[in-house]
Amino acid sequence: MTLAELDAKPLLEVRGLQMHFPVTEGIVISRKIGEVKAVDGINFTVRRGETLGLVGESGCGKTTTGRCILRLERPTAGEILYDGIDIAKLERKDLMVLRRRIQVIFQDPYSSLNPRMKVGEIIAEPIMVHGIERSAARRSARVRELLSVCGLDPKFADRYPHEMSGGQRQRVGIARALALEPEFIVCDEAVSALDVSIQAQIVNLLEDLRGQFGLTYLFIAHDLSVVRHLCQRVAVMYLGRIVELAECDELFDNPLHPYTQALLAAVPVPDPTVEASRTFRPVRGEVPSAINPPPGCVFHPRCPIAVETCRQIRPELREPRSAHWVACTEVRV
């Protein structure tokens, strides 16, 4: 599916999303003394059928963003428009309908499956609760179908999670995500905890499933090489904000934001001649605390091209090149 074939109207539109966690203190009465601004006002869209990568270091807010979209957290502010409906404010009843359309694949295959349930039960449970198949026989047929789609022999349905390897368990997680026939799947670091060779298998599986079922992915990761293989567009996050958003190849070939450039510079190239000629300039400093982020542009203390205004003005996303958005005032094309 090429980019041109994608539907123009976005499936998911996030506007001004904020997720602030209060920090409390107090002996008898707890007072709020601050907030962890995990997600501090982000905007992006995901088109139907595409894979949007969301990358950044640990603590940048990408997982929290995913959880907000899944409504595992209730956003502090902002809108999340899924197919036109603002899901940020939905209540329980309506959420049930939403669950059939948005699903999730978690990072850790070892703790994302209930150790006390058989694999078949794990996958069958959402089917049963949502009433998709009322007869047990049809349910188990569906379970077997899902397992084989994910590359597992249907006999695995009788096994417990601890009797399987990490890669196999992750496939079960994928099968469970597919059980409700969703359109949109949040892959929260879905391959980060797997061995590299297994990563390749799972990544290819996800690609095939996307084509087969017409899925849309939000792929959260910190490994840029995996992202490049899988995503059509990529957004880079830093300290709760999106700093760059572009088509995949464009981002990797022409990173504009200093942070993105630093991230890409840190990835080794498997060609010794190329690698030897690169000069590696690590970003100085450490990621600041999310409770007290720097004023203005959050990256300015570590930025090689920062100027005085960077400390005062919070940069908004602008489009210096076509379909390539950067949140930086100093970028020159």
Binding site: L70, L72, L95, M96, R99, R100, Q103, V104, F106, Q107, D108, S111, S112, L113, N114, P115, R116, M117, E125, P126, V129, H130, S148, G151, L152, D153, P154, K155, F156, D158, R159, H162, E163, G167, Q168, R171, G173, R176, L180, Q199, A200, Q201, V203, N204, L205, S225, V226, R228, H229, V269, P270
Partner: protein, 303 residues
């Protein structure tokens, strides 16, 4: 940069060469007996007491309440294996029937308290927030009362007798169970499979009953066995003070109350045997509970 990917990725189920690590319940029980001899010994004691209590009518040689004034305070003999008390009642029969009382009280208190504690503890951990805070406060207050004191206070209000005794002992046990199971539940509340369940839209009761409770079964079982022992001791103490089970229901604590001290020097068997029964039963439960805890420790399991 591309990742070279294998063309086929279907993993065949190696279910056929699945190593035989899935053992039946019987086999696991047998392994338990072999690895934990003390625990097995404890279990055997408990089973003996249970059989005695269940089949009291058939195996007790005399009626536990039949006075026989021609055979008062007789030492152990062939006619009365454990001797008779000051009313001529056969000690052995009273101890056998007493086992029934002890185990009924013990198991009732343990089961009710553990189940109630589980609901309160896991529910409190799951919902969190203010519900958790206030419930913990209430449980802390109840736990500020030592067990015997609380039981005595309840008996003071509602009176004595088997049913009141069960009620009196269950109440202080509930918060103790809730506290332990709450901390177990808290440690699994943030686990991804709970998040997955929420993402699938499961309701609160399904998540609690199907996903959290089965994963706190280990501490639950250990608490259950510990509670039985504690309940038996508490009932014995209450009956000894005359504030527990009342005559004519046979109970080990009661047997020690009736003039056991007066006859201490002349008829020591009146004092020794009932207490020995209590100690032996609780000892059995303690050994079994200890062994169970060792066996359920995931670090020591062979999986």
């Amino acid at each position: 940069m591309t990742i070279a990917a294998p063309t086929s990725y279907t993993i065949p189920a190696i279910a056929d060469d699945l190593p035989e690590i899935r053992r039946s319940l019987w086999r696991r029980a047998w392994i338990f007996c072999r690895r934990q001899p003390l625990g097995t010994f404890g279990m055997v004691i408990v089973i003996i007491m249970a059989i005695a209590g269940l089949s009291a009518e058939w195996i007790a040689p005399y009626s536990p309440t039949a006075n026989d004034f021609s055979a008062m305070t007789e030492p152990p003999s062939w006619a009365h294996w454990l001797g008779t008390d000051q009313f001529g009642r056969d000690q052995l029969s009273r101890i056998i029937y007493g086992a029934r009382t002890a185990l009924i009280v013990g198991f009732s208190c343990a089961i009710i308290a553990s189940l109630a504690g589980m609901v309160l503890g896991v529910g409190s951990a799951y919902f969190g927030g203010r519900l958790d805070l206030y419930l913990q406060g209430v449980l802390d207050v109840v736990m500020a009362f030592p067990l015997i004191i609380m039981a005595l206070a309840v008996v003071a209000i509602f009176g004595t007798g088997v049913h009141n005794v069960i009620f009196a002992i269950t109440i202080p046990l509930i918060p103790r169970c809730a506290r332990v199971l709450r901390s177990s539940a808290l440690s699994i509340r943030e686990v991804p499979y709970i998040d997955a369940a929420r993402a699938c839209g499961f309701g609160h009761s399904r998540i609690i009953l199907r996903h959290m409770v089965p994963n706190v079964v280990a501490p639950f079982l250990i608490l259950l066995t510990a509670f039985v022992g504690q309940a038996i001791l508490a009932e014995a103490s209450l009956s000894y003070l005359g504030l527990g089970v009342q005559e004519p229901v046979p109970a080990w604590g009661l047997m020690l109350q009736g003039g056991a001290e007066e006859y201490a020097s002349t008829a020591p068997w009146i004092a020794v045997f009932p207490g020995l029964a209590i100690a032996l039963t609780v000892f059995g439960f303690s050994l079994f509970g200890d062994a169970l805890r060792d066996a359920l420790d995931p670090k020591l399991r062979d999986r």
